[in-house]
């Protein structure tokens, strides 16, 4: 068997294993169980981290607007899926809001309960993604002329503006102002999350390995050479930005689903940093790294280290030390250790199947070009 075949088989095996495990966990545990919660949130973060990696890791555009695009996706999902009957209580300060339809209910009427709701939910997610993509196209026009840190600052600013904008009272009939959106449907099973995010991540991976993905990598490695070889910089940067934002939007919708409520406040720059952290820990330029790091991060932050906040961690009972906030101290130390000992992240720029075979290595480093 050739190495590439081995890699494919290995990857397929891992995927099947993950799916089987997810189904088993779903069957064994109730949906409010912490394991399900961790898997769901980890999956959402994996999708968003991979979308960020597409832009930051593969195209070399340092953008920090992820939270803004997620916010758009989250709101689109919430606004379009809250059942009509519940709108009056959700939008209690805005007379039931301006929008009086719900996509899942529309599709329910002619596709039946289960299928209709699912189609409506997926469509709402898609709308969120498209909205984020549209916004990316708009702000990409001026912002993508900037380079490195300047681009990061501009996109960060955009995300913050968007967050403030969504809390604006005048938009209340749609966004509910600074009040919560709630009562919208959620996928009960972690498997649904995994399949949904998995399909989208698969698309990103396929894109990265296609001719366009290669062009993105060329832009990352050397912009001048890329342009001289006929790659339209503006077009490809915009494309990467829009695609990345599209998936961030869908990720935002899924995060809203998972949380059960939507407010603009949590979509702060801190959320972008969280995702950036995951991308860096996983390895900039490694899809599997991002996925692995998301689960690890969510697992430690949401579950493993929770006890550090509430007095009891593993078998140690020390309420005097383990007070609120201690979790973040430990998490920070762990992150620092990872960054110190894994300079290029857990996976570097390798993917999981690469661990099987030898990759091309720079043999004689001294002749590396200027």
């Amino acid at each position: 068997m050739t190495t590439s075949k081995k890699k494919t088989v290995f990857l397929a095996a891992v995927l099947i294993l993950v799916l089987a495990a997810a189904i088993a966990v779903d069957a064994a545990l109730p949906s409010y169980h912490i394991v399900i919660k961790v898997i769901k949130k980890g999956t959402v973060y994996a999708l968003v981290a991979v979308s960020m990696n597409l832009l930051n890791g593969f195209t070399g555009l340092f953008s920090l607007g992820q939270a803004g695009f997620m916010l758009l996706g989250a709101y689109a999902y919430g606004v379009l899926t809250i059942p009509v009957a519940k709108r009056i209580s959700v939008y209690q300060y805005f007379d039931g809001g301006a929008i009086q339809f719900s996509l899942p209910e529309i599709f329910e009427s002619f596709l039946g309960k289960t299928v209709g709701t699912t189609v409506g939910m997926l469509l709402a997610l898609l709308v969120g993604g498209l909205l984020a993509a549209l916004m990316a196209w708009l702000i990409g026009l001026p912002v993508l002329r900037l380079k490195s840190d300047y681009l990061a600052i501009a996109t960060l600013g955009f995300a913050e503006i968007l967050r403030a904008f969504f809390q604006w009272n005048a938009l209340g009939p749609i966004t509910n102002g600074s009040n919560l959106l709630k009562s919208y449907p959620d996928f009960e099973h972690a498997t649904s999350y995994i399949i949904l995010a998995g399909l989208m991540i698969a698309f990103i991976v396929l894109l990265i390995n296609s001719t366009y993905g290669r062009a993105f990598k060329a832009i990352r490695d050397d912009e001048v050479a890329a342009e001289a070889m006929g790659i339209n910089l503006a077009k490809h940067k915009r494309m990467a930005f829009i695609i990345s934002s599209f998936f961030a939007g869908i990720g935002g919708g899924m995060l809203a689903m998972y949380n059960g409520t939507i407010a603009a406040a949590p979509f702060k720059s801190a959320m972008t940093y969280e995702i950036l952290l995951i991308v860096v820990i996983g390895g900039i330029g490694s899809i599997t790294g991002s996925i692995l790091a998301s689960y690890l991060y969510i697992f430690s932050a949401e579950w493993l280290l929770r006890g550090l906040d509430s007095g009891k961690f593993l078998f140690i009972n020390a309420p005097a030390v383990f007070k609120n906030g201690f979790r973040m101290v430990v998490l920070s130390v762990i992150i620092m250790c990872i960054v110190l000992f894994f300079r290029k992240g857990l996976m570097g720029d390798k993917e999981l199947p690469d661990l099987l075979g030898r990759r091309p290595k720079a043999r004689n480093k001294e002749v590396v070009g200027k």
Binding site: K217, D222, V224, A226, E227, M229, M239, A362, V367
Partner: protein, 280 residues
């Protein structure tokens, strides 16, 4: 249509007070190998950058295959400066980006090698084929372009065999020895299917043997791919061996042009290279 592939017309490139290229006029005819030589800092690479669209010239136009591809004639402040030269009649600006010019059929290499460092030899050449793809990102990601992709890969393999890099195709580009990196850059430029190949000091940093190989190689690819070659070079052996015609640039001005024999015997060229004696 004229027989010249490249025509540079009154091109001036100014950076602040420095005139890097001063009113340059030159022509490269189809199938020729033309060299642009000159002492360090004469403005050779600047001329290349104007031709390939990296810089917008302060004044002048560039024609490629009978079509005007770059044009800028002074406006505003510059218009005053150039008044009299062009009678202030031109205000037209035509400034395509380098990628468009490459797509028209002009490809270049760089003086300081600019390969994509994290990519293999094969991928470096394959990426250059990207500008010739017709698929959109959706069909590319969903693998609906298998035929095109396979054709491109086959073409890249053939190209790598031609330039003698097929056996190292899976190595990282930057792990190759210097001479092979130069070859790879040429292969990458060829992958964009050019009519005109611009080589910016292809023999820089090469030893005499490598230079000889390169000389033969440039001739080979010119015949094989029916190219026109325009090159900048310092190695006089190489230039005199393969050039049909030579232009000599000194302090931004063209001081001579002609066949290698004519250039070798041109007093102004000799002065420019060796300097003029104080009392001469």
């Amino acid at each position: 249509m004229s027989a010249n592939v490249l025509k540079v017309e009154n091109v001036t490139m100014q950076f602040g007070g420095v005139v890097a290229v001063d009113n340059m006029n030159l022509e490269v005819n189809e199938g020729e190998i033309v060299a642009l030589i000159g002492p360090n800092g004469a403005g050779k690479t600047t001329a290349f950058n104007v031709i390939t669209g990296v810089y917008q010239p302060t004044n002048g136009a560039v024609w490629f295959q009978g079509e005007k591809i770059v044009e800028n004639h002074p406006q505003g402040k510059m218009k005053k400066l150039y008044k009299g030269q062009n009678d202030g009649t031109y205000t037209h600006v035509l400034a395509p980006t380098p990628d468009k010019i490459t797509q028209m059929g002009m490809a270049r290499t760089f003086q300081n090698i600019r390969l994509w460092k994290s990519q293999t030899v094969f991928d470096n050449v394959l990426i250059a084929k990207h500008c010739r793809t017709h698929t959109n990102f959706l069909s590319a990601a969903l693998r609906l372009n298998r035929k095109e992709e396979a054709a491109q890969r086959a073409h890249v393999e053939e190209l790598l065999k031609t330039v003698g890099l097929y056996d190292v195709k899976d190595e990282l580009a930057t792990s190759l020895p210097y001479g092979k990196q130069r070859r790879l850059e040429i292969a990458r430029a060829l992958a964009t299917e050019p009519k005109l190949l611009l080589l910016d000091e292809p023999a820089a940093g090469m030893n005499p043997q490598e230079t000889d190989e390169l000389t033969a190689f440039i001739g080979e690819i010119r015949d094989k791919f029916k190219l026109t070659v325009f090159l900048i070079e310092h190695h006089m052996d190489l230039v005199m061996d393969i050039s049909d015609r030579i232009y000599v640039l000194d302090f931004g001005k063209l001081i001579a042009d002609g066949t290698p024999e004519e250039i070798q015997n041109n007093q102004r060229v000799i002065d420019a290279y060796l300097g003029v004696a104080e009392d001469a």
